[in-house]
Assembly symmetry: D2
Homo-oligomer: 359 residues x 4
Amino acid sequence: MSMKRRIGILTSGGDCPGLNAAIRGVARASYEMFDCEIIGIHDGYRGLIEGDYSLMNRSQFSGILTLGGTILGTSRTPFRDMQVIGEDKVDKVGAMKKTYRDLKLDCLVTLGGNGTHKTANLLSEEGLNVIGLPKTIDNDIYGTDFTFGFHTAIDIATEVIDRIHTTAASHGRVMCIEIMGNKAGWLTLYSGVAGGADVILIPEIPYKIEKVADIVEARARNNKGFTIIAVAEGAMSKEDAKMKKKDRETRRASEHYSASGEVARQLREMLGVEARSVVPGHIQRGGTPSAYDRVLSSQFGVHAAELIRDEIYGVSVALRGNSIVHNPLKEIAGIPKLVPEDHQMVTIAKHMGISFGIG
Amino acid sequence: MSMKRRIGILTSGGDCPGLNAAIRGVARASYEMFDCEIIGIHDGYRGLIEGDYSLMNRSQFSGILTLGGTILGTSRTPFRDMQVIGEDKVDKVGAMKKTYRDLKLDCLVTLGGNGTHKTANLLSEEGLNVIGLPKTIDNDIYGTDFTFGFHTAIDIATEVIDRIHTTAASHGRVMCIEIMGNKAGWLTLYSGVAGGADVILIPEIPYKIEKVADIVEARARNNKGFTIIAVAEGAMSKEDAKMKKKDRETRRASEHYSASGEVARQLREMLGVEARSVVPGHIQRGGTPSAYDRVLSSQFGVHAAELIRDEIYGVSVALRGNSIVHNPLKEIAGIPKLVPEDHQMVTIAKHMGISFGIG
Amino acid sequence: MSMKRRIGILTSGGDCPGLNAAIRGVARASYEMFDCEIIGIHDGYRGLIEGDYSLMNRSQFSGILTLGGTILGTSRTPFRDMQVIGEDKVDKVGAMKKTYRDLKLDCLVTLGGNGTHKTANLLSEEGLNVIGLPKTIDNDIYGTDFTFGFHTAIDIATEVIDRIHTTAASHGRVMCIEIMGNKAGWLTLYSGVAGGADVILIPEIPYKIEKVADIVEARARNNKGFTIIAVAEGAMSKEDAKMKKKDRETRRASEHYSASGEVARQLREMLGVEARSVVPGHIQRGGTPSAYDRVLSSQFGVHAAELIRDEIYGVSVALRGNSIVHNPLKEIAGIPKLVPEDHQMVTIAKHMGISFGIG
Amino acid sequence: MSMKRRIGILTSGGDCPGLNAAIRGVARASYEMFDCEIIGIHDGYRGLIEGDYSLMNRSQFSGILTLGGTILGTSRTPFRDMQVIGEDKVDKVGAMKKTYRDLKLDCLVTLGGNGTHKTANLLSEEGLNVIGLPKTIDNDIYGTDFTFGFHTAIDIATEVIDRIHTTAASHGRVMCIEIMGNKAGWLTLYSGVAGGADVILIPEIPYKIEKVADIVEARARNNKGFTIIAVAEGAMSKEDAKMKKKDRETRRASEHYSASGEVARQLREMLGVEARSVVPGHIQRGGTPSAYDRVLSSQFGVHAAELIRDEIYGVSVALRGNSIVHNPLKEIAGIPKLVPEDHQMVTIAKHMGISFGIG
């Protein structure tokens, strides 16, 4: 390969541990394997639309493996509602294509979640050479066993549960800990098991508050004066699940609504117990990536460079078992991966006596 | 000393890292220095009132140095309002004295905060031999440089700020992080400096929101698109500070009020920026004590045993400089220690360019 | 199932994070799914041979999820050299069978590494109902993608590399960090990638010291005054690899030999650089399990209980992709799992420019 | 003050957590309080001698609060033996003075340990305006209660002891953990108490191995099958202490000597127990500073700037109780601070039953 490749790279969507490690993987492997120039595009697709970018040099990818955040900056995806094909969208796509062409890019690498992948697929359909890398603490991207960022978030959420455990036990309280994950229960399921939660409530398995109350009471009868409830931010009761989607989302969007606050409030009312809600929030998505995520991010980044070397585009990198593979963008873009009700982890959790607030 | 000493020990008030380390210190040093029996009183003063206790054996104090929470259980102080001398109080004091006498205790060691110390002093005035140990993550106990639990909480709050920093920087947001400390600003002051906060708001220095807004705007002008604001849970604006105490507390007691939420809301309204509030809450008070707090708790516990050996009662153990000392209970009980406006840490923070939302 | 099952459980071989979490998983799932009694056998096979055990009660499995070590105690496997079928061995096997029969066990669950599995298989062949759980920080057990303990050790080793990185960079030194793993390179490979090592030396890929020296010199030419070398405790040069196995092992058994010390010494001699060796040793195998290992240990433990419920014996639990499965003991017992030279992680590391001291 | 101050700053001696936080403190407070230019001198006194430096800009001090190592680089002190006044020394001092004059510095800020302070004092005596900041994980600088770096090292050493504890207990072993501290026992004393060590051996209190053996045996009699021994790298037996200093140091300088290895070897020989040595080494001095050290480093740095503002030179910044103060360089430079035998921490440790291998 005598030709010099020009690679554009951007990070889009929410902050997530491992972004810099993945960027470093793409860059180090590209410099190692072929002649290349890397263009850093600023603040996600915004920079691609507005032509805001800079030519990177090799030393800028040094020392960033452990660094939280993204050295490229990020912004939310440009198309909130991909269904609406309006003039604005056409303009934005046009602007992105123009920047790609002006920069004479051979390839665009996009790091992001479901929204980012939708746009990546759109650009791929428009003829650009695009490779996606699945990042999100929510682990809700179809086609990959795990996204990077997810395991760091499990570590943080588990430490939160550990610390709350102490207070719950010393005071004999019901503690409802709200864990991120958007509309998926993965993060709550894993950190709930790791933290030894007594009850795990996830969006995919709507709960009955009476069943949760039963657990609290059964524990009290067995001289366990406290209960730890891991509540996904998207968790919903069976009643909520039956509401019209729009009504439910309106209610949830209200400033003071929280899934864990709701559970705590109902338990206080039903049982008269001291039930409290803790919402650790954004600490679950920031800071240094864990060893697991540094390895996975590096692997994803290097595989992207291998794909560029082999001129394979229109794909997203993925983990399958212990192998790093890739899926066609069009087969996975925008398809959310939810927890199946009969997932082995759910069964295993039930077999340990963890309640999902049902049956 | 041929006589066998009978020592009662209880933990009262909120959960705090280092309680078990301090209990272990009292026990190990007592067993080492003199003949003794140790009675564990359950759930704080509740156990003393109701005669709920158990004779401990030496092995029960083994392996608890690193354990969060309290092996003795805890409960809130029995007298919410010490000013009201009612029948209830007389009864409770009588019950506590009776248990003390029935158990033939030579001494009662109480681990707790300001409320606990008030009751300890009351029992001391009633003729019981009492020794207090100052524990609280708030560091608001008069007469000691530091309480145990405080430094562990600094570590946790600092890690929270570190993780939020990443998100703030990647997204260009104003993040208002609410830090515990009751009515004192110690925890916010120390963790704010350790976490590199741009603004620190504490109850002792009421802020003007306009001054906070000025900082956010000045940073934006210098191409720093984000601002980290450490907000004490007791922080208040100058307007709040002028309100009648009762009105202020009523407002603050409302379910959805939070000091950090208030700051974020006002900045959103004034500047139109994306300002968010994070309330890590109870994670600041649970879990394994840090090395610092294991040392301090051990020192406090051992000094209590030294005092028992020397039959010095009616005192509370304290840290002064690098020495472990003791103060008469009646001189310190219930006097809150607040951050003086001209404290050296405040001056140093100001000299680094950290704003307190004033002047 | 009306019958009460009697389950014996033991932990054997080296200390490893997650042992208690796995014990808890077996116990909680067994109590949840069927009527049972659990017998804790003390200090591994020693307890089985000597009849040293105790009947456990349910509360003993509470609060141990996060606890390092093993509540059952452990000892080295009773048969150092399984090839020697001597009288001693026959006696020991007989003693173990006798205890199993005396206790009227329905099943024996053994938690351990390769040596433990060999003995488990032996007992299985003798007609006992045995289920193995693969634990080791070395990840060298055939038939499972990962063993529990491995990921906690990666976290610790990575933190060690992170901290050494600072010193190496500030002083411009070559730092050789010795990482555990017995005769396998898994732990060094994963933590080397996670810690950003420049060179990774593992037993499966014998190195040429000249190639390592080339890297140090090349970095110096590029103004990188330091080099981080992750050295597996079992790493060996091509010359070492050619020695007779017995001679090599004799040399390595000498008190002051260390693989990393050897590398550092040779680099000092060849290049005159300041090269140092760090041997963190046992800290890589102790303490609280990580969230990953708590989940994996729990899954393994629960699956063992599911197997008992279904009366499936003579197997070892395993992770395959994301599924918890089981392998026949006779197909996996004692077969070490080494890093294949063309493993995808090796290729990926090479593509990032990490040297393995070869070619 | 209309005049612009020119400030030189350098870091000298071993890597230590908090160096960058202290540099940031000096810079932020200087920029905040007066008009200034800051010159970063590279690699300690080497840069001052050779005229290797660069003019810093404000943004270079941003984002370094949590960064391990030193952005300025470091080197060992230029005068290994300060007693020898040879030509070389005169030349080096002359070169340093020349660089200071050429740069038209108003002040030189030096961050380092005892060796660094000696040179700082020498330069002060030669008429330069010098301010010292005491950094070292050894805490062995006279005149300050604590140096920065010390508390981070306590945290790391304590975590090491925690992890080793698990293995010791599970296997019933004697574990000798070697802790840094040069010729002072501070780090071992504090981390030994924090980690719950059974025996603490420090240079200031020479031990008798028979007394250590007594503890191991007494614990075995009480069914504690393991013993944790925290051994300072400078610990010595009474016999060692009586040797001629030169002979002792020659022996200790031999490649394979280690204080902890010596203790383990003797216990194996005397008692036939399984006693092992662990030498975590350099991990105790690298990486991100703890919250405590970030605060202390910042305070020290800001106070240096306050001294520059007030034109107070020839001093070293110090912590006394809770106040940041300063001492004349000539009164403290090069005086090592050792643990007094009757230090309150030693007494407290003894009262908890911790043995120092004596009496």
